[in-house]
């Protein structure tokens, strides 16, 4: 039953992935202009442009280009970046590691802060800390990422000189970007934790637990949290993929060589192979993330595990 479900999910994910690939491919090619020309810049002459266009197979019909792209992409070859002149897979490889570390740090921050604030707020519902935390999380949701990033950079790196302004040389360089990136998610996690926890605390089995003599802490930890965390965990799995692919702004502000910045660069350089591969990577991560979230949910919730 579960296996079937998983297979169905997988097939669905693959269909979506195929759709995404096609969409990206088409979208990037409706842009007028010959990419070779833009690549050659000021020094393009008609002869070289024609030669390189043919070399890169850009004179072929679109569907042939597409199948060529897919068949080489499956083998891990995403072409050569126009603007950086290196194999795209190599560029993305090093950038993805940075983004991954950044996203991990950000997720860690968002989850720790978000969940603890959420729990604290739910337990102290409608009292000062609750209002404070919830106000703060609303701020987290409303504050644009770049504002948070700039603010953190300005205060903690520039004014207080506690942390580096930029750079991935040491782990300290990831702290500020991670907070900036995770800020938003922390707010969401806090709100969701609070809501689900409050709902869970209304459940009958909480009364049962109290009736058998569990103290408030035990109830929170052993009964309420385990149930309340289910939707939060799912959200977190989705969020993590969002963090991975949404690091564009943070990476720009802190000048981190990640997938997001690579994408911005690809856009300003009209670098189709790079843009194609980065956006494909980002969407794959999201698709994978929601797939994982589904799996996670069914693992954590016994109701969905068997028979359900």
């Amino acid at each position: 039953m579960m296996k079937n479900n998983l297979v169905r999910r997988l097939v669905q994910a693959l269909i979506v992935l195929a759709g995404v690939t096609l969409l990206i491919f088409v979208m990037l090619r409706i842009v007028p202009g010959n990419p070779v020309e833009t690549m050659m810049g000021e020094h393009a002459n008609a002869e070289t442009v024609a030669r390189m266009t043919a070399e890169m197979g850009l004179d072929q019909p679109l569907h042939i280009q597409f199948f060529r792209y897919i068949s080489s992409a499956v083998r891990g070859d995403f072409g050569t970046s126009y603007s950086l002149g290196k194999p795209v897979s190599q560029l993305i490889g090093s950038a993805f590691i940075n983004t991954l570390i950044l996203a991990l740090f950000a997720a860690l921050f968002a989850w720790i802060v978000g969940i603890s604030c959420g729990i604290f707020s739910a337990v102290r519902k409608n009292r000062l800390p609750d209002r404070l935390f919830m106000g703060f999380s609303l701020l987290g949701i409303s504050l644009p990422v770049f504002m948070a990033a700039m603010f953190l950079q300005y205060v903690f790196a520039f004014k207080l000189k506690w942390l580096p302004v930029s750079g991935t040389d040491s782990w300290t360089g990831f702290i500020l970007p991670a907070i900036a990136l995770g800020w938003n998610s922390a707010g969401q996690v806090a709100q969701m934790t609070r809501t689900t926890l409050l709902e869970t605390l209304q459940e009958d089995y909480i009364d049962t637990a109290r009736a058998k003599g569990r103290g408030p802490f035990g109830i929170l930890v052993f009964h309420a949290l385990r149930n309340a965390m289910l939707p939060v965990l799912t959200m977190m799995a989705i969020q993590f993929s969002g963090l991975l692919s949404g690091a564009v702004i943070t990476e720009t502000v802190f000048s981190i060589n990640g997938v997001g910045r690579l994408m911005v660069q690809a856009i300003s350089g009209r670098d189709i192979p790079l843009l194609q591969a980065t956006s494909l990577l980002a969407t794959s991560v999201v698709i994978l993330g929601s797939l994982l979230a589904d799996c996670l949910y069914s693992v954590l919730d016994p109701r969905l595990r068997k028979g359900g």
């Binding site: 644009p144 504002m147 720009t252 843009l275």
Partner: protein, 304 residues
């Protein structure tokens, strides 16, 4: 013969609708209830109105023009003459903020509205017609939702080029899928309601059921989605502009102002803080209003 029969059916369906319209009336009550109980939502509502007015009457509120440069008074700090100081080109920041409100509010409202319409139509169609229509629309929605919104916006902006109309289109294409999903699930629920069943039995046409029965019942949801989509659009646009992919200068949008103001963060912090605060304020206001609406419209939350 057939005509009159159909006419009759429509009349009956209207009658059925009237009974549904009780809902509408309750909706007014709900709004009043929200106004009574949720002061933050009311304040937010008036703040939004105030911002709209400020944007509309911008030319009367400031003696300067949006793009008047004064190279000899660049980056001057806030003063009586320039309440929020001047920017890197000697332009009055307050003036640009007011004119920028036009762009930012339009960018909040127009795509939210367009995506709402698109999403609602597709959602109702998918939910009500089912089958192939449903499959195609929902797969499309899945594909759209597989993109992180910022990324999708970037790719579309790349394909379309910058400019305000393209920003509208982009944000619409980014947001429709979510609306469509919600509306579809609502439609599926409504489809099995007695009054729709009844309308179908007496032979009301499919289009009419969709138009007169299902869509109006999705309105409260759509209203909430609208109020929550507006700030999302404003944030996305400001991020796009921050990356230099959104609105074209010299027109000021708040995101663009922050983008250019960034390099003066410590020489002229007002360049960033003024539009930053404006964005936060409007986003918060819409969020509060949206949450207020959600509180009164969502029965599940009402219970709490």
């Amino acid at each position: 013969m057939l005509r009159t029969k159909r006419k009759q059916a429509e009349q009956v369906s209207d009658l059925l609708l009237q009974s549904q319209l009780g809902e509408e009336e309750r909706f007014g009550d709900l709004m009043r209830r929200m106004a009574r109980e949720n002061k933050t939502a009311v304040i937010s509502f008036f703040l939004i109105i105030l911002m709209i007015l400020a944007a509309v009457f911008a030319p009367y509120l400031t003696p300067y023009k949006e793009n008047d440069m004064d190279l000899l008074h660049r980056l001057s700090p806030p003063s009586a003459e320039h309440l929020l100081g001047t920017d890197e080109g000697g332009r009055d920041v307050l003036t640009r903020l007011l004119y920028g409100a036009r762009v930012s509010l339009l960018i909040g409202v127009v795509p939210a509205l367009l995506s709402l319409i698109l999403g609602a139509v597709l959602g109702v169609a998918a939910g009500y017609k089912g089958g192939l229509t449903d499959a195609v629309i929902m797969r499309l929605a899945d594909v759209t939702l597989a993109f992180p919104s910022m990324l999708l916006a970037m790719v579309i902006m790349y394909a379309l080029g910058d400019g305000i109309l393209n920003v509208f289109l982009t944000l619409t294409l980014v947001n429709w899928a979510n609306v469509a999903r919600v509306v579809r699930s609502q439609t599926l629920k409504l489809k099995n309601c007695e009054f729709v069943e009844a309308a179908r039995i007496i032979g009301v046409s499919r289009d009419r059921i969709m138009r007169r029965h299902i869509l109006p019942n999705c309105l409260p949801t759509l209203l909430v989605m609208f109020t929550l989509n507006v700030p999302a659009s404003i944030l996305t646009e400001s991020s796009l502009s921050f990356l230099g992919l959104g609105i074209k200068p010299p027109n000021a949008s708040w995101g663009l102002m922050i983008n250019t103001g960034r390099q003066y963060l410590y020489n002229a912090p007002w360049l960033c803080f003024a539009p930053g605060a404006a964005i936060m304020l409007i986003v918060l206001a819409f969020n509060f209003l949206g949450n207020g609406l959600l509180d009164v419209l969502d029965p599940r939350l009402k219970k709490q």
